[in-house]
């Protein structure tokens, strides 16, 4: 490879970190979902890089499955967002306190 694997992985980690920060430190539910998407994408990048280095299709296969999972998760997450928005008229996470048993 003309670019060392370490660099690609470093990029992947950086993307993941940004995504994690977005998910942890934003107050709107939407941004949590966006953060998750970014993290998933970072993982996919690392997977494909591994596939390239070890010349194995499995990394890319997994990326496909991962993309499908991300899609499913986004669907449910967004409908959850809609549901919450209808109930409380705000997408604010701070309001959500009743998840206790």
């Amino acid at each position: 490879m003309s670019v060392p694997l370490e660099h690609v992985l470093l990029l992947s980690v950086a993307i993941f970190a940004i995504g994690l920060a977005c998910a942890l430190f934003r107050r709107k539910f939407l941004f949590i979902l966006l953060g998750v998407e970014i993290m998933l994408n970072a993982a996919g990048l690392a997977l494909v890089a591994g596939s390239a280095v070890w010349r194995n299709p499995e990394g890319q296969v997994f990326w496909m499955l991962l993309a499908a999972i991300a899609a499913a998760e986004v669907a449910v997450g967004l409908s959850l967002l809609i549901h919450l928005h209808r109930r409380r008229h705000s997408g604010d996470v701070d309001e959500l306190r009743s998840l206790r048993g």
Binding site: L20, L24, L96, L99, R100
Partner: protein, 619 residues
């Protein structure tokens, strides 16, 4: 043929089982009859086998009871010259007392329990008598202890009775521990609990060890035989029904200690120090108990202390090495003491449940037969010449005197003095109960004394009076019979024998005279301080209470309040509180806030990633 020997203890055991299993369904008199018949059958077997017990005797090994590496304790019985007369006495006297009890307990609602226990007791006692090894003997030892506890506290609904039973059990238990230590030590040293083997191997023991074992055996015997210092239970044990007192606390259990010391006499005599200790304990107890008996008010307590005193004589003889004399006195004493106790039961009945002798009197006129019977017993107890008691006590005194040495001469003096006091308290009892005017009104509804209660008294009187024939001085039959298992008594000069007999007779007459002067007409005068001290057994109970019971209670209280409550419970409570606190602190993590959960999720994720990196890190 040897299984016949096993019948002797087994018949009463079967009787007990039969009573337990079927007692309730059978008619009211059945338990008493079954019990009496089984013991009587056992007595018949014992008497029939008596001639076969000479010399080597009969042995019977039924099965191996305990067995482990290098040690085996069989269920083995032996009928030899020592155990045969003892077994015969135990069974015959038991049978007579059972007959008495059948009448005495006829209407008691607990008679099934009573007779079952009574028979069980006889079984256990016979095990002690007939066992050929100390392990089996210990089984019987514990058995009589338990039965005694159950029978003393028979009317347990009255707290006093239950307490008396408990006291008996606990005090004798102390003695039992010493006996157990002795048995175990012998086992570890000699590798066996077989009595014959132990006696044979006795010379091989070191002097210190022999003395230690001897002292331990003495303490064990002292517990069961109510000798100093473990005697406090016997006077209180009179709370049980009269047949119990007659059987257990006159004829059988209290003599088990003396019997044990006779059985192991070769071992005991290896240590002159231990033997001397035995003799000393016996003599001192005899003196102490006689003095206490002199000042008792309750008739059965007089007899209880009297028993303690007479058993002291038996121990004195055993310590002096005179097994024959000890056994002789044991057997004769059983006869007349059982008689006296059973008569006391009738007497108490006659006075409507009153047992304070200062309130009795004048019974001679009402109950002539009872009077004669009691006189017979009293004469034996006092050692009046030509009675069985006279010869047996004389044999003991002679053997102590002939033992030689200043120490034994001192004990002889104690024994002679005790004989005098014995005479005094015996005649005191006679005068206060039977002679003079009746000091309390007759009971409103006197129960008729069942014939079954009076019948056994006659043979016992006869045996007591004539028992002297069993071992006349100067080579008696019993001494000859015991020759294979016991040392023969030292030969004494005729002059010494006659002098001693005269001295003993003198004591009896002097005692009678003193009692006559003091107690003839009046009832007891006001009690002096000294008299009260003796009546209370020289405050032995108080000494035990202060020295043992109070510290024990204090320790128990301390354990409860400090160790149990504060340390253990407090520790547990503290631990529980700690856990509760941790739980409460942790539960703050789950307060329902999505924000908090999100943060936790993120932190956990980072942690996992860090861990994964650390695992695969290869610098």
């Amino acid at each position: 043929m040897d299984w016949v020997l096993a019948l002797i203890p087994l018949l009463p055991l079967l009787g007990s089982l039969a009573i337990v299993l079927g007692g309730r369904r059978l008619p009211a008199a059945a338990p008493g009859i079954i019990a009496t018949v089984s013991v009587a059958a056992s007595a018949a077997v014992a008497l029939l086998l008596l001639p076969h017990a000479a010399g080597e005797g009969i042995r019977s090994r039924l099965f191996v009871w305990l067995s482990s590496e290098g040690f085996a304790a069989p269920f083995g019985l032996v009928l030899d010259p020592l155990s045969a007369p003892m077994a015969a006495m135990v069974t015959v006297v038991s049978a007579l007392i059972h007959l008495y009890a059948a009448g005495y307990m006829r209407e008691d609602p607990g008679r099934v329990r009573f007779f079952a226990l009574f028979n069980l007791f006889v079984f256990a006692m016979l095990i002690i008598v007939l066992a050929d090894n100390l392990a089996l003997l210990f089984l019987g030892w514990e058995g009589v202890g338990f039965c005694s506890y159950a029978l003393i506290g028979f009317w347990f609904r009255e707290p006093k009775n239950a307490a008396a039973g408990q006291k008996a059990f606990l005090v004798t238990r102390v003695g039992d521990v010493f006996l157990l230590v002795a048995v175990l030590w012998l086992l570890s040293r000699l590798g066996t609990t077989d009595i014959v083997a132990i006696n044979a191997a006795a010379p091989s023991l070191p002097a210190a060890g022999a003395t230690a074992v001897g002292v331990l055996l003495l303490l064990g015997a002292a517990g069961k035989s109510a000798q100093l210092p473990l005697m406090t239970w016997l006077p209180d044990a009179m709370a049980g029904p009269t047949p119990v007192s007659a059987l257990i606390h006159a004829a059988t259990m209290v003599t088990a200690g003396a019997y044990l010391l006779c059985r192991l006499n070769p071992l005991l005599s290896q240590s002159p120090a231990a033997a001397a200790a035995v003799a000393a304990v016996g003599a001192l107890t005899a003196l102490y108990a006689a003095l206490c008996a002199l000042f008792q008010r309750e008739i059965k307590r007089v007899l209880a202390y009297s028993t303690m005193s007479q058993v002291g004589y038996m121990l004195l003889a055993a310590g002096a090495g005179a097994v024959g004399a000890s056994l002789f006195h044991l057997i004769v004493h059983a006869f007349f003491k059982a008689l006296l106790f059973m008569a006391a039961g009738v007497i108490i009945h006659r006075f409507g449940g009153e047992n304070d002798i200062t309130r009795m009197g004048g019974l001679r006129r009402e109950q002539r037969a009872l009077f004669y019977l009691f006189v017979a017993g009293a004469l034996c107890l006092a050692g009046a010449p030509l009675t069985g008691g006279f010869f047996s006590k004389d044999a003991i005194l002679l053997s102590v005197l002939e033992r030689g040495g200043g120490f034994y001469r001192l004990l002889f003096g104690v024994a002679i003095a005790t004989a005098l006091i014995t005479a005094v308290y015996t005649f005191r009892l006679l005068y206060l109960v039977f002679l003079g005017e009746r000091r309390s009104p007759p009971p409103a509804h006197p129960h008729a004394i069942g014939r079954s209660m009076m019948v056994p008294l006659w043979p016992l009187a006869a045996l007591g009076l004539l028992g002297g024939l069993g071992n006349l001085p100067g080579g008696g039959w019993l001494d000859g019979w015991l020759a294979p298992v016991a040392q023969p008594p030292p030969p004494a000069s005729h002059a010494a024998e006659w002098a001693l007999a005269a001295a003993a007779a003198l004591m009896v007459l002097a005692g009678w005279a003193l009692a006559h002067r003091r107690y003839r007409g009046a009832a007891a005068a006001a009690e002096t301080g000294l008299a009260r001290a003796f009546r209370l057994g020289l405050f032995a109970d108080e000494v035990v209470r202060a020295a043992l019971v109070r510290p024990f209670h204090a320790l128990a209280r301390f354990s409860r309040d400090w160790v149990d409550d504060r340390i253990i419970d407090g520790g547990l409570r503290g631990a529980a509180r700690g856990f509760g606190g941790i739980g409460a602190w942790l539960s703050r993590l789950a307060n329902g806030s999505l924000l908090r959960y999100r943060t936790a999720l993120g932190l956990g994720l980072l942690g996992l990633l860090a861990f994964a990196v650390a695992v695969v890190w290869r610098p």
